[in-house]
């Protein structure tokens, strides 16, 4: 195996694309909607891709020659970073595939396209996790985004979903254009699109026009902040998250966001974190990102408090969580950000799966008042939702706590004490709005006595069970995952 072509390093992406194509063919050649069959095929694809990731992990740990760190002329990089973010992408997409079964039935939407788009999007996320080159980051981002635009507008006859898809499309492409132009200028300044070469060029001060790097870096930062929905570039988030189908929203707020954080970290490590005094780029970026992180947390948490729609509330909460994760980026600590995104992925996909189940056909019942007295009609579902809310608020023993704890601890050790204190205060404020739906579920009388009990299918039950198990596993026994992310080897 040479350093150019290596079929093992591309195996997870290859498997997923292949299964997605097979699924499209199966969808075309079977009569009627065989929703269960499509779900099983995509589950098989995700599990096979996960196995391939596991194989790469084993090879990386034992046999250094079989999996070179960099293949395809530096386009693909196989390192713990890739493994961590690929795992997040696969976990989030698998949970979404399970949660989607009941929703697609309920809304009688075509299932074949949904699962193949979900898998293509996951291929994009995997490529972003393994990118070693700006070309690959751009390509992965676009594979992901184009599939996500369609998924956001998946309810073709629902105006809200149409609007969500279109808004996401316009602002997403706008952000991509900024990112791309920034990449072009960075290429002009450093004469390379390879992240490692860019890092070396900046460290050794071999930059032709430093103002190009400054402008290019700034534009990449703007594009990335759009993608992770950091304030003041967050305005699209509430609209898109409210209008998109709940299951898709749960996935969009976790998977693509984790992939965007992967790209952010890669570019941050290559361009902004190096200490070379090129017009004070590193210092200026840190200051700018600190301000962005603080604004993001304030905007997310304060506006979430006044929302009456649970989906919109969770959208603002998602903005706030991006702010917490940004603290980890500023501390240049990718492992804690990866762990945070895994925790956030598990709990948020779970929370939105419950919102989808309660919302019924076309997400009609997503207001807080629709949750009145739900604990008496569907006790298990309410308890599950309460667990996710506790975890999002960051209560001890849950994944949300452990994720925040690791990010804030890492940042504290890097001397970002003010930022950490601010983030902890914000996290305390957030308890208020996470408790509102819980209070409504448990302490308000049901509006109409004849509300039907929410019935979940087996797949949705499996998704929720895995999410709840994940919340407690990551919250209480994070050692295994941390070891996999090579945190303990630090």
């Amino acid at each position: 195996m040479d350093k150019y072509v290596n079929y093992i390093t591309i195996l997870p992406e290859a498997i997923l694309s292949l299964v997605a194509f097979v699924l499209m063919l199966v969808d075309a050649y079977t009569s009627g909607q065989k929703r269960r069959l499509y779900a099983w095929i995509s589950l098989g694809g995700f599990i096979a891709a996960g196995a391939a990731i596991g194989w790469i992990a084993v090879l990386l740990a034992t046999n250094a020659t079989a999996v070179p760190a960099s293949t395809y002329m530096g386009m693909l990089v196989s390192d713990p970073f890739r493994l961590a973010f690929s795992t997040i992408a696969l976990v989030v997409s698998t949970l979404t595939a399970l949660a989607a079964v009941a929703w697609l039935d309920e809304d009688s939407l075509p299932a074949g396209e949904f699962y193949s788009l979900l898998m293509f999007a996951t291929v994009g996320m995997l490529l972003m996790a393994s990118a070693g080159d700006l070309v690959m980051i751009f390509l992965g981002l676009e594979i992901l985004s184009i599939a996500t635009y369609v998924l956001a507008g998946y309810r073709r006859r629902d105006l809200r979903s149409n609007e969500a898809g279109l808004k996401y499309y316009i602002l997403g492409s706008f952000a991509t254009a900024f990112l791309l132009y920034g990449m072009a200028l960075t290429y002009g300044a450093t004469r390379s699109t390879n992240l490692e070469a860019i890092r070396v060029a900046i460290t050794s001060g071999k930059v032709d026009w430093s103002w190009l790097l400054l402008v290019g870096g700034g534009m990449m930062l703007v594009g990335l902040c759009f993608k992770i929905s950091a304030a003041p570039f967050h305005v699209w988030t509430p609209d898109v998250y409210e209008g998109a189908p709940s299951v898709v929203t749960g996935w969009m707020s976790t998977g693509p966001k984790a992939a965007a954080f992967a790209a952010f970290l890669k570019i941050y490590i290559a361009v902004f974190a190096v200490g070379a005094p090129i017009m004070g780029l590193a210092g200026a970026t840190q200051k700018a990102l600190t301000i962005i992180a603080i604004t993001t947390m304030i905007v997310g948490n304060t506006i979430a408090m006044v929302q009456d729609n649970v989906k919109r509330m969770l959208a603002y909460s998602s903005i706030a969580h991006a702010g917490y994760a940004l603290v980890g980026v500023i501390a240049n600590d990718w492992r804690s950000v990866a762990f945070y995104m895994l925790c956030y992925g598990v709990m948020n996909v779970g929370a939105f799966a419950v919102v989808a189940a309660i919302g019924k056909r076309y997400d009609r019942e997503t207001m807080v008042e629709d949750y009145r007295g739900l604990a008496w009609d569907s006790p298990v579902l309410s308890l599950t939702f309460a667990i996710f809310m506790f975890s999002l608020a960051g209560f001890p023993m849950t994944a949300g706590f452990m994720g925040k704890f690791l990010v804030f601890k890492g940042a504290w050790e890097k001397g970002l004490s003010m930022l950490v204190i601010f983030a902890v205060l914000n996290s305390a404020i957030s308890v208020y709005y996470y408790f509102r739906p819980i209070m409504t579920m448990y302490f308000s009388a049901s509006a109409d006595g004849d509300r039907k009990r929410t019935v979940l299918g087996a797949a949705a039950v499996a998704a929720l069970a895995i999410s709840v198990a994940g919340v407690f596993y990551l919250g209480m026994l994070p050692d295994g995952v941390l070891k996999f992310f090579a945190l303990s080897s630090k």
Binding site: F138, R156, L159, E163, Y169, I170, S173, A184, G188, V235
Partner: protein, 100 residues
Amino acid sequence: MLPITNFILLSAVIFSIGAVGVFFKRNIITILLCIELMLNAANLAFVAFASYFGDSTGQLFVFIVMTVAAAEAAVGLGLVIAIFRNRETLNVDEANILKL
């Protein structure tokens, strides 16, 4: 040969026209064209740098961007058709069910 700065200035001007257009145009098709303008401004910068450096990476990037832009336009027009069927207008100000 013209100095490289001219090309970069031209691409910056095209990019700015596109970016301003996204904010101020109200028709969705025009907005899509403005985004296309921004992507192609980046392409221009890439080929200018690539020919200046005598390096092929920038040109390769342009081919990838062109392919991606075509795919993106296809999806964008699909979304536009979906929204037009349900609403019969292409003015973004009237796409306002979700409050901003």
